[in-house]
């Protein structure tokens, strides 16, 4: 499932995309716990921001893995 993102923002509804430079794949995590791979950042943001359309969250679909946890508060 690719690398876990560094998590810095601690809001309830943070979307994350991780990319390893030198590779073509991006992986996005919705705050609902769902994640998906893509080769196109435009398409991936659209999928993330469309929540709950297309990925209603863990309630109805099995989550692919634990959602990343914030490491520390930013701007606190």
């Amino acid at each position: 499932m690719g690398p876990q993102p560094t998590t810095m923002l601690d809001g309830d509804t943070v979307h994350r995309i991780v990319w390893i430079p030198g590779t073509d794949r991006l992986r996005g995590w919705c705050w609902c716990g769902e994640s998906r791979e893509s080769e196109d950042p435009v398409e991936l943001w659209e999928w993330l921001l469309a929540h709950p359309d297309g990925h209603p969250g863990r309630g109805t679909a099995p989550a692919p893995g634990p959602a990343p946890r914030p490491r520390h508060l930013v701007g606190a």
């Binding site: 690398p3 993102p5 560094t6 998590t7 810095m8 923002l9 809001g11 309830d12 509804t13 943070v14 979307h15 994350r16 995309i17 991780v18 990319w19 390893i20 430079p21 030198g22 073509d24 991006l26 196109d40 950042p41 435009v42 991936l44 943001w45 993330l48 921001l49 520390h72 508060l73 930013v74 701007g75 606190a76």
Partner: protein
């Protein structure tokens, strides 16, 4: 309804506090010409830079400050610090509507912030912070460059550090940057985009080795924190490999920090005030380090200015919606654009609702 590409009902940096004193000072923010001055008590005031009588700019000679009033240089209309006209020439009665639009202002972190939008919505708690800039624990160098390009181009530029390699070849890029995962986070509600690149084991660039005394391998973090629409922070952290990380209370005594701050303030639809500052928490009294950081950051800013001025001319000559192509490096920029679009729409909708 006026449709602009500016996000209204937002705070913007209008100036450094050091720019405003007992002289009349004018700056255009989001298309509005604003007059700034300091009262005798030292408070910054902001009001429209156009006399209500015949529109003479109050920042132009021979307009002048007289105590805590501004006297228009054309026929002498006189205004108080709240923008209300207190006297007009040749008559006793001052027309009741004779007042300049005043703007909420807040001086904080060495900046003068101004609220563009409906006054009753101005909440100082919404102003994002850059506390390094006037902290005694940091030494700061700063500047401001005029940019003849729309502010969105500067947002795009700053959210993608990969352009370092090309536009700023030799200045700030390092080889490890290329293999380190980059995480982009977007908090739509808070209007924040965060792009982090944490290198766990990197060579120490010569500048840091010299100025911090660190020898050997380092962990190097570069974190972009963009608070739409105006404030951009680049947190740069270096520490010897194996040193403890930041503590839960936010302090981080085992690392060295450089905080690069930009305020991206729209002037007009096609021009921008590009405020930049570099604060550090090491070598505080070392003038050579200050000079190096000033020269290198200003060089980088000016390279961007030249490129973006050119890009503005191209974009302005093309029809709206001309196709672009986004790739992985644009992940952060796309998130910022999305949030800006939402803020512009929200500001426009609120002003319609308020009519």
């Amino acid at each position: 309804m006026t449709t602009t590409s500016f996000a209204r009902n937002q705070w913007y940096v209008a100036a450094y506090g050091s720019e405003i004193g007992r002289e009349l000072f004018s700056r255009t923010v989001c298309g509005e010409s604003i007059l700034f001055w300091r009262t005798e008590a030292g408070e910054v005031t902001a009001m429209a830079d156009r006399c209500v009588h015949r529109r003479f700019p109050l920042s132009e000679n021979p307009s002048r400050l007289d105590g805590d009033t501004v006297v228009c240089g054309y026929h002498g209309f006189t205004y108080g610090a709240d923008g209300v006209c207190v006297s007009v020439p040749g008559q006793k009665r001052v027309p009741r509507t004779a007042r300049l639009t005043s703007y909420p202002v807040k001086e904080q972190d060495s900046f003068v912030w101004v609220w563009i939008g409906e006054k009753d919505k101005a909440d100082e708690a919404l102003i994002p912070r850059a506390p390094w800039l006037d902290s005694p624990d940091y030494t700061t160098v700063r500047g401001m460059e005029p940019l003849a390009a729309r502010y969105g181009l500067l947002v795009d530029n700053l959210l993608d550090l990969s352009h370092e390699t090309y536009l700023h070849g030799g200045y700030i890029g390092t080889p490890e940057v290329a293999e380190t995962p980059i995480t982009t986070e977007a908090d739509e509600k808070a209007g924040v985009v965060y792009v982090s690149r944490h290198m766990d084991d990197a060579a120490c660039p010569p500048f840091y080795a010299r100025s911090t005394g660190v020898t050997g391998r380092i962990t190097r973090w570069q974190d972009i924190e963009y608070h739409a629409p105006c404030l951009y922070l680049l947190h740069s952290r270096i520490a010897p490999v194996g040193a403890p990380g930041p503590r839960a209370d936010g302090s981080d005594p085992d690392a060295f920090h450089v905080e690069v701050v930009y305020a991206i303030t729209p002037e007009t639809e096609h021009s921008t005030h590009d405020f930049w500052a570099v604060a550090r928490d090491f070598a505080l009294d070392d003038q050579e380090v200050s000079d190096f950081l000033y020269d290198s950051n200003r060089t980088v800013v000016l390279q961007d200015v030249v490129a973006l001025n050119k890009l503005e001319q191209v974009i302005a000559s093309e029809p709206d919606g001309t196709q672009e192509l986004s790739i992985n490096i644009d992940t952060g920029g796309l998130a910022a654009r999305r949030i800006l679009k939402r803020l512009v729409e929200a500001g426009a909708a609120e002003s319609v609702a308020a009519v």
